[in-house]
Every structure is written in C-alpha cells, then in structure tokens.
Amino acid sequence: MHYLVLGAGPAGVTAAETLRKHDKTAKITLLGGEPEPPYSRMAIPYYLIEKVGEDGTYLRQQENHYQDHGIDYVHGTAAALQGKAKRIKLTDGSEIQFDKLLICTGASPITPPVPGLDRDGVYNCWTLEDARHIARLAQKGEPVVLMGAGFIGSIILESLALKGVNLTVVEMGDRMVPRMLDETAGVMLQQWCENKGVRVMTKTMISEVTDGPEGLTVHTKDGDKLDAKLLVVAAGVQPNIGFLASSGVEIEHGILVDHYMRTSVPDVYAAGDVCQATDFSTQKAEMLAIQPVAVEHGRIAAQNMAGKVTPHEGSLNMNVLESMGLITASFGLWMGVEGGDSAKMVDLENNRYLRLEFDGNKLVGGQAVGLTEHVGILRGLIQTELDLGPWKDKLLKSPERLPEAYIAVSHGII
C-alpha cells in the first residue's frame, strides 16, 4: 500500500501521522510544495515580529520527526492527476504512483486585477519566503500599506503595527473582518486600531500602484495617494485545484467530498483549505479555511483511507484574532438564525462585547471582543448542542454568565 499525501500543511502532516498510526507497514509519501520543513502559516505573524525564529513556525518540533514515523517527506508540485492510472504528474516531469491519494494542497493568495501589483515591494504574506521579504522591508517608521482587512489581513496588521511601521490598511468592505465580526465588533476593532496609530480606510479599494518617492505610490479609487515602501496584499485566498482540470474530481468552490472525505474519484480523498466539506452549523459543504478544521479533516480523511471508518459530522467555523492587545473571537452562526434569539452585552468604554445567538434553547453562534476567559466554552456549548433550559433566559439578560451556564447545565444545576 502506498499512500500519497499532496500538501505538507496542517492537514497533510496530521494525515500522514494518522495513516502511520493505523497502518504500520504502508509506504507514506508527504509531498510539500515549498523548500522548507512543513510549517504553519498561522505562525508567520509571530516570526515577523521575531517572537519566534523560522524553526518556531515548524509544525513538528522533534528532529527527524518524519523519518521516525516512516514518512517520506519530499519536495515537488503536482501538475496533473490521472485518477484511473492512480498517478500524479509533477511539474518537473516526474510521476508518482499511488494506491490512495489525499489532496490537501491548500490555498494560495488571490492577486486582484489591479495594475502595478507586479512591482518590487509588493508581497503577499502567505509563505515563509514572503515573510522574509516583509521582515526585510517593514522596518520601523517605514510607510507600509496593507490591502485587505479580512482575517488574514488583520493578523498581519498586528505584526506590521508591532514592528512600528507607519501603517495604512485599505479595506473594500464597510468594516474590518466583515466575514468574522458584526458591525459592533468590526467598528470597535477599527477604532481600537486607529487609537493605536493605524490608519484604517474602509469602503474603498486600491486602483493602481505606481512608482513613488518611497518606492511605491498606492492609489485608491477615491483619489487618495499613499506613498509606501511596501504593499502587503491580503485580498483573500483560493484553493489550489489547477492541477485537477480534466481529472474528473468534482469541484464547486473547492473539492467536494462526502462524509468520509472522499472525492468523486475512487481512492482519492481531500482535506483542509482545498476542500469543501460539511460545516457543523449549516450541514452544507462550505470552505472553512482554518487551522483546526484542516487538522480535523486530515485526521478523519486518513482514518477512512486506512480503513477505520469515521464519518465527518461537520466542522465548526471559528476564529480568533488579536489586534495590538484587543482579542476578538467568533464561532458558528454568529450572525444568528431566522426566528432565533440574540443577546448582546456591549461595553464600549472598556472595549468588551459579547454576542450570543440561539436557536430555540441551543446556542448556535457567538462572538466575543475583549473577553478571553473560558472563551472555548462557546465552542463547547455550540457543538454539544446542550439544551440550556432555564439558563437561556438568564443568558438573554446577562450573556456574560455563559461560563456559569455551561457548568450549570453540564452538571445538572438547573
């Protein structure tokens, strides 16, 4: 048996380890597209601020981890899948034969159709190689523009701000992190960032990048001109599925998988950011490009590949973000459901906010700003679908009593 795992991010590494756990003798190949040990993109912001070195971003810290687990970690990029022949062609012309394949090739940054984004000094912040360039250019006091204040943009924003650059962020939407935070939280975050010296421009977009006195001049569609040494583009990501054209693998936004993480091609599975799998909250196939979900997909796909049948019941969408000391988190259906109830605690003075969303007596979503103690309980309550009983009314009045509600309901104190 030869398992081939395409992609050495969190999904791929977890899958390779899980395959080994359940199959002691099979050959396992882990194919990575970058010339680095498997690392975590999540850790790049902390590398940028020198909280850790490059080795601090590695997914596994033990020396010889992959050899010790009998995992062949090799470098290469897939060019085409020949599903019937069970073969992957690589861009260097070589081929790899497999018995079972897991596709976890992740995603890549989108480059919007803006003239000038091919100039020197314009970078994505996606790979370790990108981060090395940004670390070099983002020196204290230098003018830097960030395109996009989505989740990834906002994580990079903190690193750039902490490096002491003169930072302007340009976001197309009407607020920061519109896909993770509601208006109250998004505006709270924006004011916080502005108070910390970051210029935040919303509802506008970058229309062109030209040469400028600092290296670049970034033009907005409203006529603003921003001089910059560095422009960081965080305009979203798209799944790496180009090599699957004419492979027969069914794709909508990402690779479609069933409850066992199987694609439409026999013996070919998918996991992580590249795949569109069940969302716990909606029970629909969604793109949930977050680290814990990638790990969950990788583990479940590998178990099924190794014959340990494990259905995927759905992953919970959740995110956490720190912006210069202000921590925001969101879970599940934070925007609420039709006919459901909502509870909000807003404390603008202290930058604290908690929003809970209920469907009947169950918590289905929530978001928190400036509140970190026991924040995981939001996940626990949503995913266990506990009936809150009389605690629901208490939470409608005082959402901040959420930890109490969880302990009480789980201990039968109602």
Partner: protein, 157 residues
C-alpha cells in the same frame, strides 16, 4: 494506574483555597483571578463546582496547536504548554470546548493546568477532599471524558 484530579462538587464549600494555592504556585500571587482552577458558585442552588482542565486523551488544544507547543507527558497523561514554543496565537483557546486553556496577556502565552508536575497544589490545599489527586479508574472522570467526546466524536477515535 493513572492519577488525575478527581473533583467531587458535592464536597466543595467554595472556600477558594484551591484558587489561592494555584495562583500562588503558578503565578506567585494570592490572586484567585490568576488561578488555573476556578470555583463556580451557584448560591441559589447551594452548589459549588471546581473547574479545570481534564487532560483529555486526544486533546483539542494539542491538536489545534500549529507549532507543536502542547505535548503529552506519557507517564502522567498531562498536557503541557511549552512556553518556548507557544507563539500566543490562541487557536487552542477557541478549540478547547471546556474553555480551560486561556491566554495570559502578561506573558503572551497560553496557560492551563499542568497538575503541578504531579503534585497539584489545589488538591493539597482542599480541606474537604472535593479535589483529590487519585486513581482515575475509581472516579467519574471517564464519564466526564465521554461527555466531552460529544463535541467531536472523531477526535476520540
């Protein structure tokens, strides 16, 4: 035999000695807010519940960590955060469905119960045996874990 913190809420009087002991052991301060074990008071029902990490077998915090900063001590089963590796991304704090791994803004790292290296201060400080450090097989610990498993059946398999 594996030792674990065994909690019997029925014996808890909410004296908060455990919180003080933990805060002092871990943060050298008698400030219960710094404790990694917390007593939840339900005064109306006269119920008090000590609450901390259950050291799950397949721990969500550990699996979610992007940089391998949480490891298992194989002798005790305890999940340990390695400060030199933790980048402070907080993904574990949203992944843990119990909310028992938390971010410490003072250090930029996450903190959780580590059973004080096998001699938990909270259990020593508890005057009523509501918190003991004993054999898990004789406790409701497995039941608690089973309940925990509902959040992610696959994680336990």
């Amino acid at each position: 035999m594996q030792l674990a913190l065994v909690i019997d809420p029925g014996k808890c009087t909410s004296c908060k000695q455990c919180e003080m002991a933990c805060a002092y052991e871990k943060e050298q301060t008698f400030n219960p807010a710094k404790s990694r074990i917390r007593i939840f008071d339900f005064h109306e029902e006269a119920r008090f519940v000590p609450y901390t990490c259950t050291q799950c077998d397949e721990a969500w915090c550990q699996q979610a960590c992007p940089v391998n900063a949480i490891t298992t001590d194989h002798a005790s089963g305890v999940k340990i955060v390695h400060d030199n590796l933790c980048v402070g991304c907080k993904v574990c704090t949203i992944a843990c469905p119990f909310g028992t791994i938390n971010y410490n803004a003072d250090t930029g790292k996450v903190i959780k119960c580590d059973l004080c290296g096998g001699d938990p201060a909270c259990a020593k400080a508890c005057p009523t045996d509501a918190i003991t450090y004993s054999d898990v097989e004789q406790s409701g610990f497995e039941k608690m874990k089973a309940w925990a498993a509902k959040t992610d059946a696959a994680a336990q398999s």
